[in-house]
């Protein structure tokens, strides 16, 4: 089963400390090497995002920045896991690494199964 992992965070947290980046790179490298992570990427500045919305039968296209923006998705990973628990464990590591190397960071990691994946 595949899982999409979203990393959500406040956008105004500033630059990640070097130690965090290095530890995250190592952890991701490990998950890629183990074959459980099959794709990952960081998302660009949410203030530059474009939203196309259907509401009340009308389509509106809005460009950022948005004033109400709080937590945004900053990155994603796709895990090919044997179980939900395995995917959750992979995601939990991300949070543990932030806790250790960037304690001021606030955010969350959300793990969701991808339907219609290769084995469903």
């Amino acid at each position: 089963m595949r899982y999409m992992v979203f990393v959500k965070m406040r956008e105004d947290v500033g630059e990640a400390p070097t130690a965090l980046r290095e530890t995250m790179d190592a952890a991701m490298g490990e998950l890629f090497a183990a074959g459980s992570m099959i794709d990952a990427g960081g998302l660009g500045d949410a203030s530059k995002a474009t939203e196309i919305r259907l509401s009340g039968g009308a389509v509106t296209v809005t460009n950022g920045p948005w004033t109400e923006a709080t937590e945004v998705a900053g990155g994603y990973a796709i895990l090919e896991a044997r179980s939900r628990e395995e995917a959750v464990e992979g995601a939990r590591r991300v949070i543990e690494i932030h806790k250790e190397h960037w304690p001021g960071w606030e955010g969350s990691v959300e793990v969701r199964p991808i339907s219609g994946g290769a084995e469903s």
Binding site: G29, E85, E89, K99, E100
Partner: protein, 417 residues
């Protein structure tokens, strides 16, 4: 609290190869290493649900295992000779900062793979032991994958461990001349696990996806551990691309769908992209390639074609010519016949097929008849094609494949309904 237990087991599985590998280096006994790793799992199952999963779970498990190892050798010290040295090695290993010794652990994992694929073991035992010790699967899961009883699989694994101890198998990645042959063995084991899942030869299931996933993981792991070996990337590439077709290989009723008839929108483009990237990495090594890179290059030709009619058959025919030259076999000739038939017309294919059709190794498989049926069909000779498909169906041992061949026969010759 089964949820918590599953979480602990998931963590343990992720760490188990590294755990067992590190413990095997310290104890020089893979069976003991596995027992110690299991002890750590038992301790984690007791402690983690109450106290939470430790931040560095791998280090926690290793620390517990090593304490058990020390206890074990203290008990044995008086009973066995030579354990003094082991106890010293353990105490020395205690001082090693595990987080700082990642490279070392990666080396150990590679050594473990070479150990579980040791030539002293029969191939099916290599596969089982690799899944157990490197993949972290339970005996029940492996038994299920290979369609044997759990007890049988348990005995197979125990025997394999005993054999490794009997032959004093080295915990080393071989060097020199031996290295190439042993690496070929390792890759063959991973490929065997994949094909066991991908094209179940016996029974009514067309594939067992769990085995494919495990093989793919092993191939990815091996490629990460041996980045300078083109064939290892080739193996990964081949498996990624083959796995990309999983959803397209079965129709709505579970029937098999052949490559050219597959709905390519169902191909997994993420796996294809990964497969093509692995093939690029193989070629970037600049070293001489072997059978896996060649097969991956062929698979890549199919993967790149968004429609079946876009397939670069001339390139595939050329690649099969290279394969046939370097690794001649009857099965390769059959595949070469298919490629030449597509590239240069059915007669070109049939002449290659005729030259190999009487080969004894093909006598019991449906391969020749089904390919001949296909080539005759391309030539417009539908009745003769139907007869070949019926012949192939009679030779098939796989229920899903048999149904497919019967269906093809009926499509070509509906009068036989």
């Amino acid at each position: 609290m089964p949820g918590a237990e599953a979480a602990v087991t998931a963590v343990w599985r992720q760490e188990s190869a590294r755990l067992i590998a590190g413990l095997t280096r310290i104890t020089r006994d893979v069976g003991l290493a596995e027992d110690l790793a299991q002890d750590a799992l038992v301790a984690a199952l007791d402690q983690w649900p109450r106290e939470g999963v430790p931040a560095n779970a791998g280090a926690w498990l290793m620390a517990v295992s090593k304490r058990r190892a020390v206890d074990h050798f203290r008990r044995e010290r008086t009973a066995r000779r030579g354990t003094q040295a082991l106890a010293e090695r353990l105490e020395e290993a205690d001082h090693v900062d595990l987080a700082g010794a990642v490279d070392h652990i990666e080396d150990d994992v590679l050594r473990l793979i070479f150990l579980t694929c040791h030539p002293a073991l029969p191939p099916e035992s290599r596969a089982a032991l690799t899944l157990r010790l490197v993949g972290g699967l339970t005996t029940a899961e492996i038994a299920n994958g290979f369609l044997v009883r759990e007890k049988t699989m348990g005995q197979r694994i125990s025997r394999a461990k005993a054999t490794l101890a009997d032959v004093h198998a080295d915990f080393e990645v071989p060097r020199g001349d031996e290295r190439e042959a042993r690496l070929a063995d390792v890759m063959a084991v991973i490929y065997l696990i994949f094909t066991e899942g991908y094209a179940a030869t016996v029974g009514d299931h067309w594939m067992r996806p769990e085995l494919c996933l495990e093989a793919l993981r092993l191939a990815r792991l091996l490629a990460a551990l041996m980045p300078d070996e083109p064939e290892v990337h080739g193996l990964q590439s081949l498996l990624e691309i083959q796995a990309s077709r999983t959803r397209a290989r079965r129709g709505a009723d579970g029937e098999a769908v052949l490559l050219e008839a597959q709905d390519r929108r169902l191909w997994d483009q993420l796996l294809i992209r990964r497969g093509l990237a692995a093939l690029d990495r193989a070629e970037a090594t600049g070293k001489a390639v072997g059978p896996y890179v060649l097969q991956a290059a062929i698979a890549a030709c199919h993967a790149r074609a968004r429609r079946a009619e876009d397939t670069d058959w001339v390139r595939i025919a050329e690649l099969y010519d290279v394969v046939a030259e370097a690794y001649p076999s009857a099965v390769v000739e059959v595949n070469r016949a298919v490629a030449h038939g597509r590239a240069y017309g059915p007669d070109a294919g049939l002449s290659i097929l005729d030259a190999v059709a009487e080969d004894a190794s093909l006598a019991t498989t449906p391969l020749v008849a089904s390919v001949r049926g296909d080539l005759l069909d391309c030539r417009g000779d539908h009745e003769a094609a139907a007869a070949e498909f019926r012949k192939a169906a009679a030779q098939s041992r796989n229920e899903a494949e048999r149904r497919l061949l019967h269906r093809r026969a009926l499509e070509k010759d509906p009068s036989r309904l």
